[in-house]
Amino acid sequence: MKPPPFAYARAESLEQALALLAEGGEDAKALAGGQSLVPALSFRLLRPTHLVDIDRVGGLDAVRGADGRLSLGALVRHATLARLQPSQSHRALRAAARAIGHDAIRVRGTLGGSLAHADPAAELPVVALALDAELVVASLEGRRSVAAADFFLGPFTTALAPGELLVEAVFPALPPGARTAFAEFAARAGDFALACVCVGVAPGWARIAVGGVGATPVRAQAAEAVLAGGGAGALQEAAATASRELEVYGDRAADQGYRRGLVQTLTRRALADALETA
């Protein structure tokens, strides 16, 4: 199908974008790279009344790192993330970006778009959750910061209110010696994940976030406790715990049992990957 009709405006600046979003009202949407939004329009799953094109707004694509903290503008393209030379602690972000779609998608798709679209099978929301990202949201009223844990509310549903625009994702410095990894399984390379896992490990600290198995990315907190506790066999036990503790849904692409198996295998692989890196 073709996209349904919508009023359209192109913003030249963030201020203009916010004003246009406010003017557009409740059913206005921001358009950046369009890799998620345009297919949704073509399927007519979304029928925004107004589209605010922010694809060329300047100043929203900065990549800044300092003291282990990584600040990424919402318009940073997946292709840029895929080429990052991250600090050791943020290599999961690069791995996740490389798993998104294909070259042509990564050139256009944006970090902010992926986070705001909140597809349950998307990669970057899982990394944001695992690594405690703070998401900076702007509106005419000012700015506010939302923890990733509070941002993803349901399938394709976030804490963004009408008139609000995600402008930045800040990945805090991780504990000393932290290593991260990302693993995904899809039917074909570039497909949406049937399941994906992002992990972070440091002495006494562990993060395991899983995507593609529920309405939002979720943390496997019992598994994290097992891992943080350490000891021989903790890795295997954490992977098994993750697959048991989470509510996992099934569908024709992969039933519940299969997805549970994926959670276990991917958690194990991601942890092994993280722990092997120097």
Partner: protein, 171 residues
Amino acid sequence: MTAPGEAGGSFAAADAEITVELTLNGAPASFSAPARWTLADALREKLGATGTHLGCEHGVCGACTVLLDGEAVRACLVLAVQAEARAVETVEGLAADDELAPLQQAFHEHHALQCGFCTPGFLMAATALVRNEPDATSERIREALSGNLCRCTGYAPIVAAVRAVLDERAA
């Protein structure tokens, strides 16, 4: 005074015609279309450049691949109005007069096309790769083309054709 839909302006009403000026295969071009038109449809219906094909129209098959400012993108996922002031390259721009571009010649020689429906998309994706990554490995060729689907050839001849062009350039 900016018109509705132009940068910095107000909202263009739904289905209002918006004028887009761009460069197509090196030459200035323009068209008017509603904002909800995709670049793929605008190229085909407004500019007569029907070499860009519509396969899935939701960004999965790659048949609509064109170059936007030198990078391979899915034209079905770019709104036509987003091409304003940008350089678009399509399959029509590859050959110089009657002479096939090296990639086209290689596709011909390696039997990298049968029905030809996916071919323009593959050619544009490969053009970006050859231009931007002249020392791409065979694994990288496969990755770069992985977003394009072909029902006929089984892909091996396509990869071989691209490999041949890269090898020829390196020689």
